[in-house]
Each structure stands twice: as C-alpha cells, then as structure tokens.
C-alpha cells in the first residue's frame, strides 16, 4: 500500500509540474519572467495576459480533464467487461458523436457553439443505446465489444455518406473536428467536462468493490450480492456521458482509454480504486504533453491531437498483441 501511495503522490506532483511546464509552450514568445509575473500578480503586457489566461490555461486545463476522463472511461469499461481491449472508441461512442456532429454541421449553418457539442453528445448516447440493446438481445458479454465495433462502422459509414453529399465547407469543418483538437476550447468547456468527471469519479469510488467483484466473473459477483446487469449498464452509461462530453468539445481523441489503464495495471494495480485514480493521473499527464506536441512541433501549424494519439495508440495495440503472444 505504501508503494502505491508513493506512486500516486509522485504522479500527482507530476500532473501539477506538467501543467505548469505546458504553459511555457506555444507559438507566441513569452519569456519566463513575464510568465511568472502574469501568473503571480498581473500582466504588464495585455497580449501576454490574453494568451496566458484565455488561450494556454484553458487549453491545458481541458487537456488535463479530457485526459483524465478518457482514461477513466477506458478503465471502467475494461474492468466491467473484463476485457483489456475495451475502449470508448471501440464501443462506437466516438462514431456516434461524429454522426451527431456531422448532422448538426450540415443542417445548421450558424449557432454551432452549442448545437455541435449537443448533437455530438446525443449521437454518442444513441450509439451506446444501440450497443447495449444488441448485447442485451444476444445475452453475451463477450459480444458487447463486437457489437460496439459493428455499430461503430455502421455509424461511420452513415457519416461518410452524409459528408460525401454535403456542402464542402461543412464537410471540411466536420473532418477537422473528427481529427480532434484542443485549439478552440474555452474555460466553460473545462467546467462542463469537470462536472461530468466529478460525478463519474464519485460514482466509481462508491461502487469500487462491486466493480472489483466482477473481475472474477459474473457468477462470482452475483454470489457476493452484486446486481451484475444493472451495475454494468450504469457504468456503460457513465462512460458514454464522459466520453461524449469530451468528444463533443475536443473531437475524436482515440486510444487514450485503451493505453493508459494498461500502463496503470503494470505500475499500480488492477483493482478498480487504484486503476481509476492511476488512470486519471497518467491520462492527464499524457494528454497535456500530447497537446504540447500538437501545438509546438510544427512552426506555423498545429497537428490535430487525435492524429498523434491514434498513431501512438496503434503502435501500443501492436505492442500489447506482441507481448500477449510472448506470454501465451
């Protein structure tokens, strides 16, 4: 326990340091003494003031909570389905959000600031309902993931069909949104994501023993007094809400939920409480730094953050497969 506590403490410090370090990165040249003055008292330079308080800090805070949220969603899905490959991306949640965003973009010309996230959220919820419905009909836990993949492809094909016939400007907007970016986030997004995140974390901490009981099989959990179906449905709902909120503001950021819990299992442990807290911290660190890469690796342009996470994620996927082959 001591070792776990030390690791978690070190990670917390690392989250804070990462967030602080990330403020120094960006296309505008702001030297460190100016930065410190801005953070501690008030800025002399009004441009620096805007850049730091309205661009960089909201962006870092959103990266922090989005990383936490996506990693936690993956961790919850993996433990409740006993499948280490479960990820919100694979459950069709992101494709659902993509379809919702596409429909909003094509049918509405303006007023997108509220309509786009809302439509993405509804789309994500829609896909989860379909996945749960299919799994319920099939009555097979192992097929929940397969159902998710099937639904994901179905919704993606509908999205592409609409985009193909859609107006080029709107199509462009959607395609860029699907790649994921933190470039347009604001402080209000941080508040919305944080509130969903807090509700999710409190629920999972409340039910951590129930979720742990699932790790040894449904029958074992049921014998310990767990209502397995209800618990799994609740957890799926929480993951959907969490992912949908994040995807709505930040677009498609894949594979965070798959990668981070794997690292946490190696580092801290497999039971839910450790996994959730560890995933939140490592997820936050990960996304803060990926966003730093996204906005500062090219001189006059940004790389969409989803491209970087997907590239890292796919390599990670292959690594897991290679390793599991080596073990068996």
């Amino acid at each position: 326990m001591n070792k776990v506590a030390t690791t978690l403490l070190a990670l917390t410090v690392l989250v804070i340091l990462s967030a602080m370090a990330a403020i120094t990165f960006g296309p505008a040249d702001i030297d460190s003494s100016e930065l410190i003055t801005c953070l501690v008292s008030s800025c002399q330079n009004p441009i620096a003031n805007v850049i730091i308080w309205q661009v960089r800090i909201p962006r870092i805070l959103v990266a922090l909570v989005a990383g936490m949220g996506l990693a936690i969603a993956g961790a919850i899905l993996q433990n409740t389905t006993r499948n280490p490959l479960a990820d919100p991306y694979l459950f069709g949640i992101v494709s659902g959000a993509g379809l919702g965003a596409t429909i909003a973009n094509i049918s509405l010309a303006d007023n997108l600031t509220i309509a786009l996230p809302l439509a993405a959220f509804l789309g994500a919820l829609f896909s989860v309902i379909i996945v749960v419905f299919i799994a319920k009909v099939l009555q097979r836990m192992e097929q929940l993931l397969l159902a998710g993949v099937a639904v994901s492809f179905m919704l993606a094909s509908i999205t592409q069909f609409i985009l193909y016939f859609g107006e080029p400007f709107a199509t462009n907007r959607v395609i860029f949104w699907l790649m994921g970016s933190l470039a347009r986030v604001e402080m209000s997004n941080f508040y919305v994501i944080s509130s969903v995140l807090i509700v999710a974390i409190i629920t999972v901490i409340a039910l951590h023993r129930q979720i742990d009981a699932l790790l040894l099989g449904d029958e074992s959990a049921a014998s310990l007094g767990v209502d397995v179906d209800k618990l799994r449905l609740l957890m799926l709902g929480i993951c959907a809400a969490l992912t949908a909120t994040i995807v709505a503001y930040c677009g498609g950021i894949g594979f965070v939920g798959l990668m981070i819990p794997h690292i946490v299992r190696q580092l801290i442990g497999v039971t839910t409480l450790k996994l959730i807290i560890g995933s939140a911290l490592i997820g936050a660190i990960f996304l803060i730094w990926v966003d730093v890469i996204a906005r500062s690796s090219l001189p006059h342009a940004e790389i969409p953050i989803g491209i970087i996470t997907s590239a890292l994620g796919s390599i990670f996927f292959l690594f897991i497969m290679y390793r599991s082959r080596a073990i068996s």
Partner: protein, 276 residues
Amino acid sequence: MSTLLNISQLTWQVPNKAILQDINFNVRKGEVIGIIGPNGAGKTSLLRCITNQNNILANTNVTGSVQLKNRAITKYSAKEVAQHFALVMQKNDTIFALSVQDVMKMGLLPHKTLFSLDCDHDKAQINLALKKVGLEQALKSHFNQLSGGEQQRVLIARALVQASQVLILDEPTNHLDVFYQHQVLQLVNKLNITVIMTVHDLNLASLYCQRLLLLNQGQLISDGSPEEVLTPKQLSQVFGLPCQQSIDAMTGAIQVSFYLKNTDKQQNQYSELVDE
C-alpha cells in the same frame, strides 16, 4: 441442531422437461451435505435455486419455496443472501493479474457500504482466513498463477471472510488431482460451518459428507447418511450400471464401484473382492 434451510415442493419446469421435480428437504446447522447424481440430474440447478441466484425463484417456471431461517429467501435482498451464503464456483475466469489479496477482499463486499475502504480489522480477518486454509504466505501471489487446488482453497478462504453461515460448493474437486481432492474436502469438513456441495466422486462424497442427497432426472431419489443412500440397488438404478458396495478398511467409509455388464471377468473380480 436447528433447521437453517427448508426447501419444500421445489419444482423447475421448462418445456418438455422438469429440471427439478418436487424437491423437499431440510438443512440443519452444521451439516455437511453432498448432492450426488448423474450429469444433468439437476445438482447445479438445485444449488442455484437454494441461493436464489439471479432471482431465479421469481421465474414463473419455478414453483415451491426455499426458506432461510423460516423466512422466504425471496424476501432477502441480494446483499443479505450474500451474508448467509458463500459460493465457490467451478470456474473463475479472470485475465487480469489479481492478487490473492484482491480476491480475498471481494469477500468483504456483503458487509461493506458504499465508499468504504479497508481497515486493519479486514486485513486481520483476511490473514486469519488464509491461515485456516494453509495459504498465509500467498497473500501477494497472483491468483492465476496458483495451482487449481490452491485457487479452490483461496476461494474457500474468501468464503470465510464473507462470514457466511452456509458454504456452497459446485464440484469443488473438479480438475484437482487426488491429493488436492482430499485436501480440499478435508478442509471443508474442518471448518465447522454448514456445507452444501455437489460431488461427482461418490467415494469422496461418502468419505467427507455426513448426509447425501441423490438426484436423478430432477427428482430427489434418496436422502440420508452415506450408508442409506449409497446402496447398490439405488445406485445401479440411477447410473444404469451394476454396482458393488464395500467398506474401506482404512476409513470405515462405504465405498462403491461400478462395472460394465458385459464383462464377466470384471464381475468375478469384483465379487471376489467383496467376498474377501
């Protein structure tokens, strides 16, 4: 001994088949009961009904009653049922690297509220239970890396942490070699709690159970001590094979052996053995 469980007129009917048919019996506190019978006789189904797994008694196909301490089991919440019954299953599928400690902590669940963390008392309880099954050094080991017998013993220890009054085991000796079969059953016997288990091996059942229930095609054929239940006549009827009974010289327990009808040579050998 006071009556703990009362099963009366329990019937589970599915189209064209009765899984369980008019089952009646009582379980007294402290009894070690073995449920025996051929494959598909309804042994596991009976266990599922006794513990009302997945609220099975609410199913319209199931009639009759199961009473725990003179109160219908359906009136107990899932958590309360878990406080009375601990289940050790045949198969545990986990792919994650759970430690023995993680598995043991699951046993605390029926006694914990939301948000609760582990306390020192829990740790002491876990250590005590592991000591009782002889695995106190395995606390930090990976559950998946233990042998089948050790896994069974961990799950029995988990049941002890669960502090239930009845231990339910479904084929506890499946997949275990002879040494572990005896070790696990001996352990179960020494715990001084009520045990209901399904057992395939009749001679093990005879050796370790005070009372046997013989099921066949969903019916309770016989209920009594091993001497009363393991009679050649009843067993050959149920299993469809001629059967011989003998007394084990070492333990004094009833032992039975079966042989195929068409081999006269074997039949002679068995008769000779009995004659001796």
